[in-house]
């Protein structure tokens, strides 16, 4: 295969690998936003918590148990936050909720710093190690990449089934669509909201575990992930489930290819942020959203 193709393919894979994690964060944003109307700035921290907790647990339990434990703990954390913080404070204005979730992300990050210190950590590769590689479509990639893509793909599928074919999933969609009506037909909207937070936190935690061997886990990784995940969510159309996946992947790809376009590597991170701004300024309803639905939404 010609070298240029190799290079492009290599970058494509690294792009969708990171993009998958942005997609997970974006999905998490969507789940919480559509069920509760809150944009949880602390979404990125759940990814960090998942990775960190798994690393700690992996020291004395087998890897699968550590990951399961981390995901469970992240989910409980999300549920706990909803019960302790968001349930009593629902009446507050958008401005206040934004500020509260920002404060939350800071506190979580600082707590992580004190629990785990600032050293960068990583889970061991699920299969193989850091030098093993697999050939896929002519490019050499780490087996972990397959784990990431596989996990996120499975996640999207499971969510799709959950939302369409289970009672709880349909109940959550009802809450997102019309909370008052959902209440009237007997759906416990309060518990649905807790479920939404727990779900998005657990998903984030899982994403953090699966990406940890490749891009490491550090106490301060949450903020950047949150922004990039949000960029993906906006790009796809806030509240639109498929959109989050597509948006996240696009952000990842753009970041990966930005290096090739001559933008200095030091500015790579800024690419995702620039995409976010462009999306917000030019098409805030995203690729899959509709402008009228946006204007009618109470922000």
């Amino acid at each position: 295969m010609p070298d240029v193709m190799q290079l492009l393919l290599q970058h494509a894979f690294s792009g969708i690998t990171l993009g998958s994690i942005y997609a997970v964060v974006a999905i998490g944003f969507n789940i919480v936003y559509s069920t509760t109307g809150v944009l949880n700035f602390a979404q990125g921290e759940f990814v960090m918590l998942g990775g960190m907790t798994a690393v700690t647990l992996a020291a004395f339990t087998p890897l699968p148990v550590a990951i399961a434990g981390a995901v469970l703990l992240a989910g409980l954390c999300g549920a706990g936050l909803e019960l302790a913080l968001f349930r009593p404070l629902r009446r507050h204005s958008t401005l206040h909720m934004i500020i509260i979730t920002i404060g939350l992300s800071i506190v979580i990050r600082d707590a992580a710093l004190h629990i785990w210190d600032e050293k960068v950590r990583a889970l061991p590769y699920f299969t193989g190690d850091e030098v093993s590689s697999v050939r896929l479509l002519g490019a050499a990639i780490s087996p972990q990449v397959l784990w990431v893509l596989g996990t996120v793909g499975l996640l999207v599928l499971v969510l799709h089934v959950f939302y369409r074919h289970t009672l709880a999933g349909r109940a959550m969609r009802a809450c997102a669509s019309n909370p008052e009506a959902a209440l009237l037909v007997g759906i416990d909207t309060a518990n649905m909201r807790t479920l939404a937070f727990a779900l998005s936190a657990a998903l984030g935690g899982l994403g953090g575990c699966v990406i940890s061997p490749i891009s490491m886990t550090a106490y301060d990784m949450g903020a950047g992930l949150a922004i990039k995940g949000f960029a993906g969510a906006i790009l796809g159309g806030l509240g639109h489930p498929m959109g989050a996946v597509v948006g996240g992947l696009l952000v990842g790809l753009a970041e990966s290819y930005s290096v090739l376009s001559g933008i200095p590597a030091a500015y790579k991170d800024a690419t995702a942020f620039a995409i976010l701004l462009a999306a917000l300024f030019l098409r805030p309803h995203g690729l899959f959203g509709s402008p009228e639905r946006e204007s009618l939404k109470e922000l």
Binding site: I106, D110, A223, L280, F281
Partner: protein, 360 residues
């Protein structure tokens, strides 16, 4: 109407600060003035942000970037040696305009750089341009979208500063010269100048407060609050909402940049962390903790907390304190910790007026 003049508390504050300085100097605690000076400059940023967030109701999570824009412009221009281009047309033109200055650098060599005064103006102009460029599209957004847009903007600036060679990358820029303002006043961090810098910093801070207080109590202030309460109704009443929001955004950006520039000369340097999201969020936390639409609250909370933070009182929990503050104040006392007191005073004043009416 026997209402206290609006600026009387400002004068009282000035008197108290003077007393504080004299007391500290007498007690040999002059080093405390250092943190007080830094706190004053950050308070200027917070005051501008208070007008934007508290009065106009527009959230900005990127004001650290404007502070850094001001600081870095001053730093770059006053440290970049132009000696090599000494004979080129534009350098000679600037020299004629009085914008350049010959000075000695750290190693004793003679270099030609931009004068701090001219650099300050350049910083303000650059900030004006950037604020207009970002503000125009961003302010058409609401709520979460606006927050994210400003956050994104701030992060882009941070990354650009961090990754660019001639802004010093991660090391920032140091050896920024002091700024001789004339009349014997100099903005500099050297201990010899400490006392006068205290008055320069707090003088500017109180001046900002006075101007913003007047603005807040005028038709502009009312228009801003109207926009915050019900933008559609404000529009219908003839208030040019988009233009007004942009103007306040630009004003707050200019205040931040000016403070950044001055603090850079005081600190003799500036670092990328000034543009970091953490710093921007701190500013927001301080506005919220002061009570949103409360300029005095913003000043008091900002000065106190920054002073304590700078003196290391919060130790390694510094960030957590600001984060917890955000959550606590906004959830428990959304109108700020001073609101209950303000309401009680207002009610008492009304009751007294009604009693006077009744007796008449």
């Amino acid at each position: 109407m026997r209402r206290l003049p609006l600026l009387l508390p400002v004068a009282i504050c000035a008197a108290l600060l003077t007393g504080l300085q004299l007391a500290l100097s007498a007690a040999g605690l002059q080093s405390y003035l250092n943190e007080a000076i830094i706190a004053a400059y950050h308070a200027i940023v917070v005051l501008g942000l208070c007008l934007l967030m508290g009065y106009a109701g527009q959230i900005s999570l990127g004001h650290g970037a404007f502070f850094a824009l001001g600081g870095y412009t001053s730093a770059v221009l006053t440290t970049a040696p132009l000696s090599a281009a000494r004979d080129s047309g534009w350098v000679r033109g600037l020299r004629l305009a009085g914008a350049l200055v010959e000075r000695e650098d750290l190693y004793g060599a003679q270099i030609l750089t931009v004068a701090p005064g001219a650099a300050f103006l350049a910083a303000l102009l650059l900030t004006l341009a950037v604020a207009l460029l970002i503000g125009y599209p961003a302010l058409r957004l609401r709520g979460h979208y606006l927050a994210m847009a400003t956050l994104g903007f701030g992060l882009i600036v941070y990354r650009l500063l961090l990754g660019t060679d001639w802004t010093g990358s991660a090391d920032g820029i140091s050896n920024v010269p002091p700024w001789h303002l004339g009349c014997g006043l100099t903005v500099s961090g050297r201990p010899a100048y400490r006392v006068q810098n205290f008055y320069i910093a707090w003088g500017l801070c109180l001046l900002t407060l006075a101007l913003l207080l007047r603005l807040a109590h005028s038709r502009i202030g009312r228009a801003l609050r109207a926009i915050h309460e019900h933008e559609a109704a404000a529009d219908a009443m003839g208030i040019p909402t988009a233009a007004l929001k942009l103007r306040v955004f630009v004003l707050s950006a200019l205040l931040a940049a000016g403070a950044g520039s001055l603090l850079t000369h005081y600190h003799r340097g500036i670092y990328p962390s000034a543009a970091d999201a953490t710093q921007s969020v701190r500013y927001v936390a301080l506005v919220a903790a002061g009570g949103m639409a409360n300029l005095w609250g913003a000043l008091l909370v900002s000065a106190t907390l920054n002073f304590l933070s700078l003196r290391g009182v919060f130790g390694s929990y510094d960030h957590a304190v600001f984060g917890a503050l955000l959550i606590l104040i906004v959830s428990l006392a959304p109108q700020g910790p001073f609101q209950p007191l303000a309401e009680r005073l207002a009610r008492r004043r009304r009751a007294r007026k009604e009693a006077a009416h009744g007796a008449a």
